[in-house]
Symmetry: C2
């Protein structure tokens, strides 16, 4: 165990919102509060507003004072999107040699020194881990003693080295639930119709896969599910619909927003494809909209497209209990790891078993995560490339398990606003 | 009190799905079951699959046997969309004199006679009340003794003669909750951005108004709310955004899908307007998409559009407790009214007080409902026509109040499939 650094800590949230990113923030606060009780090394936990962007403008709050009660932490945990605000700032290379790049680091570390920050927690996705990696390298070079730990979050579930990411379980629960509700809705009429549901995930299909989570447990799933891990073929898609129509009149199709054709073009930008040309339009809309037009053109039946859009990533009212618990736990574990000397690493989940579900929290060198992407593996996608396997369901189900006891007020869920 | 008719009953669901239409079906079943205990007049309650369409094909099930347990009724009540299936069949005028029209009625009443149906319940919106009205007239003409009662349902809340409609409260709760979550999501960045949320309601703005339900109780509301009760003016819209931008960088705007310009054109079809011409596109998408393009063109800032789409009407996982209770109660009351001799009427809610909220159930001549529409009244819309008043909130809040104890399985809400 390395020596215990005495000083303050700071935490930031970065990248796109999730429903559980505040649960992780709460975990970091809980971690600091519980070590304080033991005359801990960390005196104050600051929060940076809008991530690095706000830190560079000295916009910080003292979280360990502001949110020290169980009530406020509980409310924070059910509040979707980053309570501290977020940013998309990308740091330059710390060793670029350019004076303007150097100036950013000088300013950043002047502020850290001034505030006596010795523990730095950054909750975010891929880009945020790039920040953790660069800051760690710079700190080492200039000899500033600080522990910098990344804590994952992304609804996309596409970070390498971790079994899954906080935030994915709740988004997946929203997608699984709402898709099932859409299936109910679409089943009421007897007329031939196709409903296409577009789900987030540009590079990986984890979230679209969740639309079929119930399939292995006797539940319902969309008739066809397309992930970006497979190239999309319009003629094969038409043939599959044709085949499904022989069984029933109402079809529900789930698609990842990131679907591409074999030549690399996104399905969402079908200008120039034969199907779209029949209309002569330039589509401003997404994948599902493009497919809606194509299916309408080919089959002449009723077609509807539904983009699940932002509600799938900020559905605090339908938090997964597993996700919330794990998101808190990994935040707390980050503080413990940093106190024990860990730096330049990202906290990860390691799954020990699907059923009964068990996992442990570890950490990995952030440089192994910063620029990678974890796709849905082959064994989770069916042979036809238009559905998921039961193994995929077994992976997803524990992550969407359980419902949270949400606090409601006036018929709406309560949120904590910092 | 009229004489008690001995025979069977039948119930059908018609029109667009809602999250509470099955709660009303459950209420009808409960009504029949509870009179059976008292050696009631109704022997069997049938359900017609796909409304009149299925009845004409003799596709019926015996609900009073199939769903006689508390467990199955409870599951039915949390299942969104019409469990019996729906249809959009419109009956011809019963006195048109055309032989093909007459043939439909002859067939329909032959089936009713054959099944000894003396009680007919039709759960639906405007078109369904038209069916109730026409069937009642025909029954009277041919002297077939039957009690025909309409039970309202529509997320649009636009039926005349009733304070509100079953299904509205749950859809409104979804809209209020998800809008608030979207507001949280949009607040995380500091960059100038406009998010436009499109909410269902072609003729009336009740559901769009629900996006601002929290406004009167210290909650958050969209920065601007536009209902179809006011004509939409693009220049005034731009000016309002400009003004709001002076206060904060992230704006959320809620719009009804049915917005129109002063000349009567729908905003969703802006082809030919000066804004859209700048792009030379024909938009296939909705109101929010059209406004997204216009705002992007005018302000050059980040703009996003979100169509709440089907999930707002089938959100069984976020049922309003008030709505579910009332939906069951009005179904049960329909049976009691029919037994007492009511026919050719639609069940209605009469509000007695906002706070504490109280109401009673009554019934009105269906001909007063069949072809009318109830708009959001002037006193519920603010002076600028870009928001709602506190009186409007006071109207909405009791309807979205309370959460249901939903049964979940494998991380998803359970549904009953008939």
């Amino acid at each position: 165990m390395k020596k215990m650094l005495q000083g303050n800590a700071i935490v930031g949230q970065s990248g796109g919102p999730t429903a559980a990113i505040n649960a992780t923030l709460s975990g970091v606060i809980r971690g600091v509060l519980s070590q304080s009780g033991q005359n801990g090394a960390i005196q104050c936990l600051y929060g940076m507003r809008n991530g690095l962007e706000g830190l560079l403008e000295r916009r910080t709050v003292c979280l360990s004072e502001l949110l020290a009660t169980e009530d406020s932490l509980r409310l924070l945990e059910q509040t979707p999107a980053a309570a501290l605000g977020s940013c998309r700032k990308k740091l330059p290379a710390p060793d670029s040699g350019k004076p303007e790049d150097q100036a950013i680091y000088t300013k950043l570390f002047d502020i850290l020194r001034e505030m006596n920050i010795r523990y730095f927690f950054y909750i975010g996705g891929n880009d945020s881990m790039d920040t953790v990696e660069k800051m760690s390298r710079y700190a080492e070079r200039v000899g500033y003693e600080i522990r910098i730990v990344g804590v994952p979050k992304t609804i996309d579930n596409d970070l390498p080295e971790t079994d899954h990411t906080p935030g994915y379980g709740s988004a997946a629960k929203y997608v699984a639930t709402v898709t099932r509700e859409i299936i109910r809705d679409c089943a009421v009429y007897t007329t031939k119709a196709v409903t296409i549901v577009e789900i987030m995930g540009r590079g990986a299909g984890w979230l679209a896969a969740a639309s079929a989570a119930g399939q292995a447990v006797g539940g319902e799933a969309p008739d066809l599910v397309y992930l970006p891990e497979r190239t999309f073929d319009m003629e094969r898609f038409f043939a599959s619909i044709e085949k499904k129509f022989a069984e029933k009149p109402n079809l529900v199709v789930a698609v990842s927003e990131g679907l591409r054709f074999a030549d690399g073009r996104y399905v969402s930008k079908v200008t120039g494809s034969s199907e779209a040309d029949a209309f002569g339009h330039q589509y401003l809309a997404g994948t599902a909209k493009a497919l809606e037009v194509a299916v309408k053109w080919h089959f002449g039946c009723k077609v509807r497209s539904i983009e699940l859009n932002l509600p799938q990533r900020c559905g605090g009212h339908i938090l997964s209990l597993a996700d919330r618990k794990e998101s808190v736990a990994i935040g707390k574990a980050a503080v413990e790891a940093a106190l024990a000397g860990v730096s330049g690493e990202m906290m990860v989940f390691e799954r020990l078993s699907d059923q009964p579900y068990s996992y442990r929290i570890g950490h990995r060198d952030v440089s192994r995560i910063a620029n990678g992407i974890r796709s849905v593996p082959d064994e989770y996608i069916n042979e036809g490339g238009d559905g998921i396997t039961d193994a995929c369901c077994a992976y997803i189900l524990p992550l969407i398990a359980g419902e949270c006891d949400i606090l409601w007020k006036d018929g709406m869920p309560e949120h904590l606003i910092l």
